[in-house]
């Protein structure tokens, strides 16, 4: 059966060697295909897994998706140590080398523009979670036994609601301010949709899920800026991920901070 070409990223030609044990999805060796001043980093994958229909089916299999995503990320992360790759969307597959060359030819202008936009930059992910720690209903309401009046009950309800409103208002203004501060330090910004707690399996509600494109030389300051906010608000948690390749900034319309979702 013919093997297809899974393309991970497009880069400018680079001299440095990739780590020798690095492999692509399914353990296949990586290859570089150069055309028109661009290099596609690819590996061969079986059509039985990566043809249109099997790939569609596989994407609904979480174990398969996890393995493929991690293999894809491992290649991108390795490339990031030697150059500044434009990552391709997961599951970008071509029939043969000539299909890849045609893509490099047809998309060359867009790819070169993206490469110059992200040149020298990495992506940082910053998330803010709100984690209410207190239960105002117990703290603020005097207990009068089982016969507490309706008025007490309404007062309790109101106090509880006001406490929650204040917490959310504080959380929102904290996240807004952090996002503005970080945007001022970033070359570009993109907002991802807040993560579903069932999926992330972490506590608290995700109220900011931002991606920031930051020059390598400015990254230390950016990270310090995030670290400084970490203990400012007791009921909020700030999480930093990265440095990533510029995943969130690899589409032509991703420079204006629009939301992805």
């Amino acid at each position: 059966m013919n093997d297809l070409r899974y393309v991970y990223a497009v880069c400018r030609p680079f001299e440095a060697a990739l780590q020798s044990d690095l492999v692509g999805v399914g353990g296949a060796p990586l290859k570089q295909l150069a055309h028109g001043g661009l290099v596609a980093v690819l590996s061969q994958v079986p059509e039985a897994d990566f043809g249109y229909e099997p790939l569609r089916a596989h994407l609904e299999d979480l174990d398969w998706l996890t393995g493929t995503a991690r293999a894809h990320q491992a290649v991108i992360a390795a490339l990031t140590t030697v150059t500044c790759p434009v990552p391709l969307r997961l599951g970008t597959v071509f029939r043969d080398d000539s299909g890849v060359r045609t893509m490099l030819q047809d998309e060359g202008e867009q790819l070169r523009e993206l490469l110059s936009r992200i040149d020298g930059c990495v992506e940082w992910g910053v998330k803010v979670y709100a984690e209410p720690t207190s239960e105002p209903e117990q703290a603020e309401v005097p207990q009068h036994g089982p016969s507490a009046s309706g008025r007490d009950y309404l007062r309790m309800r109101r106090a509880r609601q006001q406490g929650a409103d204040r917490m959310w208002a504080r959380a929102e203004s904290f996240a807004d301010k952090l996002h503005r501060d970080l945007t001022a330090r970033a070359a570009a910004t993109r907002l991802h949709r807040p993560q579903n707690p069932e999926l992330s399996r972490v506590s608290g509600r995700n109220i900011l899920n931002g991606a920031y494109l930051v020059g390598r030389s400015a990254s230390e300051e950016f990270v310090e800026c995030v670290e400084r906010t970490k203990d400012q608000e007791p009921e909020l948690r700030v999480e930093l991920t990265g440095p990533w390749a510029a995943y969130s900034f690899s589409s032509p319309d991703s420079e204006n901070g629009e939301e992805v979702w």
Binding site: L4, V10, F50, G51, Y52, L55, R56, L59, E60, D61, L62, L65, A69, R70, H72, Q73, P87, L88, R89, L90, G91, T92, V93, F94, R95, G99, T102, M103, D106, E107, Q110, L111, L114, V122, G125, H192, Q195, N196, E198, L199, S200, R201, N209, A211, R216, S219, E220, V223, E224, T241, G242, P243, W244, Y247, S248, F249, S250, S251, V260, W261
Partner: protein
């Protein structure tokens, strides 16, 4: 550059980037997986796996009744 603690990357952070990020190249593609609504698929896969491994909150509530 400061390197932050290198924990294993959370799958959900990875999928934010791999399924919603990365350049979508068109042209002479023979396979057009980019047409698929990947994010929808990802949520469907994740939610079904979550409910298979941990009891859903609804089942817990019903069991207490």
């Amino acid at each position: 550059m400061t390197v932050i603690e290198r924990r294993e990357i959370a799958l959900v952070d990875l999928l934010d980037r791999l399924l919603a990020g990365g350049v979508v190249v068109a042209g002479d593609l023979t396979l057009r997986i980019a047409d698929v609504d990947l994010v929808r698929i990802d949520l469907k896969a994740l939610i079904s796996s979550v409910s298979a491994q941990v009891p859903s909150p609804f089942e817990v509530l019903e069991a207490r009744r």
